[in-house]
Amino acid sequence: MNPLSPLSYHRRHKRQSLMLTALLALAVMGLYLVLGVLLETFITPLYTVNRYLSKFSLVQPDIGALDPAVVTQIRANPDVALVLPQNHVEIAVPNAGGVDTPFRLIGLQEADVDAVLAQSGVAPVEGQLPQPGTNGLALSRELATALDLEIGDTLKRTENNTGYANIASPLELVGILSGDVRLGIVSYEYLDNHARYRDIARYGVLVIARPGHEAAVDDLLRQTIRSPRVETATYQLLREYLAQSQAVLYRVGIPLVLLVTVAITMVVGAINRLAFMQRLTEFGTLYAVGHGKGWLVRRLTLETAGLALAGGTLGILLAVGIMALLNAAVYAPKGFAYNPFQMTVLPFVVPILLAVIGFTLFAAVRAFRRMDAVAIVERGALSLEERQTRSAAHVRAVSLTHPLAATTFYRRHKGQAAVLIGATALMIVSTSLFVFGLESFDDARQPLLNHLRQVSVVAANGLPLEPATIAQVRAHPAVERVIPAMLFSPLGIFVPPIAPTYPVEAYGVTAEDMAYLVELYGLRLDAGRLPRPNSNEIVIPWTVAQNRGIQVGDVIGNRDHPVHLDAPTLPSELVVSGVFAQAEDFTDDNWLSFMSLEFAENHPDSWKVNLSLVIVPKTGQKAVLDGWLESEIAGERRLVFTYGNQQALFRSQASSLLLSLSLVESIIAVVAALALAGLNYIFVTQRQAELGVLSALGLSRLQLVGRIVRETLFTSGAAWLVAVLGGAVVLVGMQYGLFVPAGVRFNFFNPVPWLYTLPVPVAVLAVSAGAVGRALSRLDPVALIEGRA
């Protein structure tokens, strides 16, 4: 064996080398898993489910019917093979992480089904294809698995109010498909003929390109056909959307990677530094016998590079193994199988290894620059120690009355304290980062429901409400007033930090009812006036105006010049006649708009929707009324919106996300706890002499462990405080830099994200106490006194 090989040190210090390798492996594995799970939960399913767009494209108008000229233009293109009529409804397919992915159930005419299946490389493998005019549905096997459906089962809105919101009438699964892509096929005629689907289904054409001309057709649809009035769904657009979603994920992922990288680099750097100090004599001797400083730096860096390579490889292998297990146990059974080897994740884990190598190189160059071989050989001290001595002499200590206090060691070892506290704080921030983002967003969107605090709503599902139901509601003893209203979502609100646009509701009501509701909600105008009867005017809340930069007099709903990006398409333009004032307390903010019912009823365009009922309860009767509405009125034809059921829906959405994030963050927490506890353990074992002498002087092991635990409590507590203060500063920045300018706010005192800051320090404390306790159980003061320890 070459004694000067970079491997020699590791061969003779297996324990330390293994620990560092394991630490790096854990960090790499943790980041790989975090990003891998996030990708497979939030991004890849979008692609997996909608990959049928690689076989054909869809074209549809924003509202109404597709302009025949557009269809003619597409047909005339030489790259286009087929243009088929299609209609579709959208459902949400929940993936393994509980996140909904939108998916189209495409309505095809019987004669076109074979062509679409052949083009998609899909064939029926069980049951049959939907018969024309029936409510049959054929689904790819993976989708049926994800939706937990078998042949003969029905898809009902009542079973999943949000996922199946567009399933106005139940669809029955009659066939299972299998092939290259996932498809859901229903009868065109059924959607077209069913009264409840007429307003819900989207109509357009399905475009199939000639073989080898897919890219040209994609370009045609995206660049020539697509306009504010014509929507296209193509493979290239899907990929662009995925890239945007991935960019959003990376916006969150990159700070996470940075935090973990810095923390791990600090930990490995601290361990390397301790090892370096122990090897001073070795370096001094090697330098004295003629090995240059450059050679020493190279050797030390190569040693670390070897560890990094081993740790990185091991970490990736472990992560791939765990991803494979997760795939087999969770994702594949839910119809979302994936490749455990995630190439896209690799660029995010490599920086840890490079940072560790880079830091070692930097530290080695810095230390060797001051190296004095004679000082090392003669006194066993590098200038590093001399510097420490000098600085200690400069800062004359004042003796403490309690030298065995938990803070004494770290008061005298500020560098170590900074590393431990800094690394722990960074890890705490890493584990709670996502939850702070999610919870602030969840908080900020709460006012979406505030209008339901005073009223409840019974909405028509496809068909008009039955007179008997209306009479039944009116007759209920808890009802104060029933207001006929049309419900619209003419605007959307952007909720930071990375949220989509949320539709905000508008009630189309009579002038009398509008005045009543304005008083009921305690709203007052900040500018302008309420909409005049039978006018295309709308009064909007201050928050929406602020969020979208809208003022009195602005026009919304212009199809060619939308008032904001991704603004909902309206049948005709509306003019903002007034803006309500902001609520004094943001938690009372009401994001409801009002417009004229008469306008909607009388307008020739398709403003007219089925009337809903806004129900005002008698004082103190809201809970009774809501309970009755939810149990007696909600059904296939009637949707009931109460504050309670909508709040529960919000909560379930948030908690399913929170659950996914908890899983992800627990991975980081485990890595963090092990890394930091390992570092703490090393710091403690460096203090064998101190602990041995204290033991000889009569301190019991329990007292010694207690002292170390108190010290760890101090560093973990300090780290928690630093992280929480840092978190608070970031939250204030987010609130006033991001949320307030958008007109929304979140609650600083929501306890959930703050609770997520606790696992890391608690785990560090527990693991450190265990490891140190175990190490001290072998402590032999005599061995130390005799110099054998």
């Binding site: 003796s399 002498v693 002087l697």
Partner: protein, 230 residues
């Protein structure tokens, strides 16, 4: 009174069993200065560890006022060390991030202002009044050993165990250190282990050891008679 009866300390060295201490009996009266003398490997330090409870004997028993160490729990033995004994080792074993005063305070029964004042007074008595707040690496070898002595005395132990306390010091400093330890005899007993007979000139009893056994015991009267005869 501290008593050791038929003490034995054996350990495994490969396949062989080595007796570091073999069938040793001895007693230490209050305020007595006992010196244990012998060459390296004679078992004198091992005997000190047995008497101070740092090691459990493989045979025999140690008693302090008729309380047998063997019947005490680990916790009781640790508490006994903390309360009744003080230690000075060949190396100072001071904690390098604590000042001189703090190092002394480490052995105080209670860490409070009164004991801090006592530590300062003790260090001043030992000539370190100006260096209370110095760290060990800022002190000379003799100064460090004096801090270690103050640490051994702060809680007024009944017995101070000193294991080669001058081993790493020059002769002059060594004699200073031994004088300081000897002065403690007014308050408690002193058991000093050394291979240097010079520092045991004032000992009440010198125990000579070789190969783990006591080969001779000489009290001061016997030594003085011997010296006069010589």
């Amino acid at each position: 009174m501290l008593q050791g009866e038929n003490l034995r300390l054996a350990y495994r060295d490969g396949d062989a069993t080595v007796d570091a201490v073999h069938d040793v009996s001895m007693a230490v009266a209050d305020h007595q200065f006992i010196g244990i003398l012998g060459p390296s490997g004679s078992g004198k330090s091992s005997l000190l560890y047995l008497l101070s409870g740092l090691r459990k004997p493989t045979g025999g028993e140690v008693y302090l006022d008729d309380r047998a160490y063997g019947k005490m729990s680990d916790r009781e033995r640790v508490a006994l060390r903390r309360r009744e004994f003080g230690f000075v080792f060949q190396q100072h074993f001071l904690i390098n991030y604590l000042t001189a005063q703090e190092n002394v305070m480490v052995a105080a029964p209670v860490q409070d202002k009164a004991h801090a004042a006592q530590a300062r007074a003790l260090l001043a008595d030992l000539g370190l009044g100006e260096k209370l707040h110095r760290f060990p690496y800022e002190l000379s070898g003799g100064e460090r050993q004096r801090v270690a002595i103050a640490r051994a005395m702060i809680h007024r132990p009944r017995i101070i165990f000193a294991d080669e306390p001058t081993g790493l010091l020059d002769r002059h400093t060594g004699l200073q250190v031994i004088a300081l330890l000897r002065a403690y005899r007014d308050q408690g007993s002193l058991i000093a282990v050394t291979h240097n007979p010079e520092i045991l000139s004032e000992a009440d009893l010198i125990i000579r050891m070789r190969d783990g056994q006591i080969v001779a015991m000489e009290d001061r009267v016997a030594r003085q008679t011997k010296e006069a005869a010589a």
